[in-house]
Symmetry: C2
Subunit: 155 residues, 2 copies
DNA sequence: AATGAAATGAGAGCGCG
DNA sequence: CGCGCTCTCATTTCATT
């Protein structure tokens, strides 16, 4: 269904999706239209979810990144789904992981200040009776920040 | 230096960087060349870090996402920097946060299996004498996964 | 069914006023 | 900044294997 050439294309696009199709073709030994057809298929099938620009958060106003671990009172699937949906709507929440272990959710958040974070916790966490407690870590530095999937293909 | 129109452009590009410049121009009330000049400036200044395709990890082989919290023995800046550099080279590590609080690092990793993860921990964590202990959480589901920065601009 | 070559069309890039 | 040009690149068509 998805062969080695597709993997090679994905490997290139997840590093730089503005790479010309002809250039991709040269690298993997295919013509530009062939590459184009494969990319279209990958998009149609949702294997390529989206195409985005990554913004340097340090160069754009003052932003604080915080990590939040959340411990729930009740862990029924309906309650989990409810929280997922609620968190998804909050723009300050970049990433939301539902996890196993001691805690139940893990969030990566970006806020303009700690004061702002404090105020947002009041409604988002303290205001939710199903959240038993939460633990906040402040990020000092980000040395790697990508969503690249390891594909193990060589160009 | 960077005005409201730039913010609006960033807001669009961080959702979809394949949006035509003319379409962006229509939305924010600018001509296509003007948009292009601004985008070029944003790229040159590194405010736009990179442009990438996001791949759906669930549709591409079997992948397990794990979160790792790391507690260090010594927390000198040289030791921190050394670890940052080491972690950055590991393709399975998507994100590496240096944090304050009880623990020192937080990693988001993507691995083909838990067996693979177990073997990678042997060299990466157990093999490092500065890592006191680490705590692993397995991700059951990801309900939000973006690197969008909240910009608070309305289109 | 998937490919490559050639033709078409859309969009990026650049100089001009 | 907008206008209009040029050129690159994406996309379609079509013949071929």
């Amino acid at each position: 269904m998805i062969d080695n050439l597709d993997y090679k294309i994905l490997e290139i696009l997840q590093k730089d999706n503005l790479t010309p199709q002809r250039e991709i073709g040269d690298k993997i030994g295919l013509s530009a239209p062939a590459v184009q057809r494969r990319i279209k298929k990958l998009r149609d099938e949702g294997i390529i979810e989206k195409d985005i620009s990554i913004i340097d958060r340090d160069k754009i106003g003052s932003n604080v990144t915080v990590l939040v671990e959340i411990f729930l009172e009740r862990k029924k699937i309906e309650e989990i789904d409810l929280l997922k949906k609620e968190f998804s709507c909050v723009p300050e929440i970049q990433q939301c992981f539902h996890i196993t272990g001691e805690s139940d959710f893990f969030l990566v958040m970006v806020v303009p200040s700690m004061t702002y974070y404090e105020s947002i916790t009041r409604t988002l966490f303290f205001g939710n009776e199903n959240i038993k407690r939460f633990r906040t870590s402040v990020v000092m530095g980000i040395s790697k920040n990508s969503l690249e999937i390891p594909l193990n293909v060589s160009l």
